[in-house]
Amino acid sequence: MGFQEIVFFVMGILAVALGGCLATRRNPVSAAMLLISLMVVLAGMYGMLDAHFAAVAQIIVYAGAIMVVFIFVMMLLNLPPEELRFGTLTVGEIILTIAGIGVAVALGTKVGQGYLVSALQLSEARAPLLPETENLRNVAATMFTDYLWSFELISFLILAAVIGAVVISKRRHGHAESA
């Protein structure tokens, strides 16, 4: 196991551990802080997977913009820490959960890998490592040729979301108290 694999493995374990902490945290603000750390770790993993543009976008867009909005709203609402009530699971639900995890693990091991290799027509050999400076150029070339239509649609979606957010959170003076 080379140095890269060890670092990547440690980062992955760290990401999963941060996620586990998040899922059991009482205070929403510390949960959001943990999610920011999780995103930074994920950005490192993207960087090791030769996706440099994805790594930078992850930090700027996710950790820098989306999570700030989340924390802004949490502090605006000024919530008390939540009481953790995970509810009670019935026996059937536990059995279904274990069965689902089992199916997913089975799909993830050799059976599923063989299927994936044939379905995606992957060769077992690794794809060649891309030159380091080429990532952004390649992403841009793909995004603005094959995915140009999707890109324009996404911009329209963001416009619709902004208008929707303003309309939803607008205070209606006429019947605000009856809501």
Binding site: E5, F8, P28, L38, Y46, A51, V73, G108, T142, A160
Partner: protein, 101 residues
């Protein structure tokens, strides 16, 4: 011996489980939305790993689109949470029974 992208796929599976747990078993709607963000990030990790495996850029482009969708989802969701908080003074999912859910 797993390569980096294969390990990435396994970690994305684990992260997806954690996100699913958060969405299903937490009562606070804000934390449930954080769980949705974990789900989207797990999908993104899978996309980037697959992009590394195939050696094409499609996965990274789709990951960028997912990021934009996540931004929209956060904007709309947080607006709805603020509006709900004004109406009910609570962000607990159990308190929202208007639809008899």
């Amino acid at each position: 011996m797993l390569s980096l992208p294969e390990m990435g796929l396994y970690f994305s599976f684990l992260l997806f489980l954690i996100g699913l747990f958060t969405v299903m078993f937490r009562k606070n709607i804000l934390v449930m939305m954080l769980g949705v963000e974990i789900l989207l990030n797990a999908a993104n990790l899978a996309f980037v790993s697959a992009s590394r495996i195939t050696g094409t850029m499609d996965g990274q482009v789709v990951m960028f689109m997912v990021m934009a969708v996540a931004a929209c989802e956060a904007a709309i969701g947080l607006a709805m949470i603020i509006s709900l908080y004004r109406a009910k003074a609570s962000v607990e999912a159990d308190d929202l029974k208007l639809l008899r859910g």
